[in-house]
């Protein structure tokens, strides 16, 4: 009886994890891709994120109090990406640098390719400090709201709002100055 209950709850947990995985695979992959700048490392990061999430899923479910788990998943990816750079002692690559390779695989990059305005935005995003770049990725690539971003970054809602505002202001400056240089 006890064993049946245990197997049942394990099966339920696995089913819930499968739902989470299917619902957020694209989010985790998008975040990873824009964070590391190439598909090979983005695949690794995505895989590691879900394996880690699987290990701690039961506790996360218990502690989430019914709140969405997407910020928790993205926080795992965020921490793994930080380790990734520390371990390999390297900086994120600009997505622009990979545009040639990427465009053959993904529609997103072919959309950007040939549009100087969008390329200049991506180049500007790559120049932002890590926390501002991440906040923009979460907002615009993943469509996360302030509260979700705050949970993923471990900040308050207010601090996140300020972070996003400053990121956009700084990006505006970068794009404007690059346009001035080109003119």
């Amino acid at each position: 009886m006890g064993d049946d209950d245990g197997s049942k709850s394990k099966a339920e947990l696995d089913a819930r994890f499968t739902e989470l995985y299917r619902a957020h695979l694209r989010d985790v992959y998008s975040y990873s891709y824009y964070r590391v700048g190439n598909h090979h490392d983005a695949e690794d990061l995505t895989e590691q994120t879900f394996l880690q999430a699987y290990r701690h899923f039961e506790r996360a479910m218990r502690e989430s109090n019914g709140r969405p788990l997407r910020p928790w998943l993205i926080r795992i990816a965020h921490n793994l990406a930080a380790n990734f750079y520390r371990d390999r002692s390297r900086k994120p690559e600009s997505a622009i640098e990979d545009a040639g390779v990427i465009s053959s695989v993904h529609t997103t990059e072919s959309l950007v390719e040939g549009r100087e305005e969008l390329q200049s935005i991506l180049a500007g995003v790559a120049q932002l400090p890590d926390d501002r770049r991440e906040a923009l990725i979460m907002r615009f690539a993943l469509g996360m709201d302030n509260r979700e971003i705050a949970r993923a970054l471990g900040r308050t809602d207010g601090a996140t709002k300020v972070l996003l505002h400053r990121a956009i202001r700084q990006l505006e400056g970068i794009v404007a100055s690059s346009e001035d240089t080109q003119a």
Partner: protein
């Protein structure tokens, strides 16, 4: 919001479009997760079978676990934990380590709680 900022946000939305993961990544990940689930279950089942082979090896630890909060049990656990470290180095597999640990619990229980 200024129209410049609104324009920039629209461009950001377009430039940072979600990226579809490659199909083989999804398949590979699902396979890995299924394997992990099955492995965890197999490991548990084989550990249980092997540990339960000889009832003398687990009857006393079960008794010790039942009285869990007594000082004697705490001492058993402390001593077993100390031995567990050296066992870890000696054991070639998790299963072997589990068997050794179970055996140690039985030994220590017999020594410290002879009436159990």
């Amino acid at each position: 919001m200024t129209s410049g900022a609104a324009h920039l946000e629209a461009l950001l939305r377009e430039a940072l479009s979600p990226v579809e993961p490659p199909a083989d990544l999804a398949q590979r990940l699902e396979l890995t997760l299924v394997n992990l689930t099955e492995l965890a279950q197999d490991e548990l089942e084989s550990w249980e079978l092997s540990a339960m082979r000889d009832p003398r090896n687990w009857a006393r630890p079960v008794a010790a676990a039942v009285i869990g909060t007594t000082a004697g049990t705490a001492l058993v656990l402390l001593r077993v934990r100390a031995r567990h470290r050296s066992r870890k180095a000696e054991s070639s597999s998790l299963r072997q380590l589990a068997e050794h640990t179970l055996h140690d619990i039985a030994e220590e229980t017999r020594r410290i709680l002879p009436d159990r």
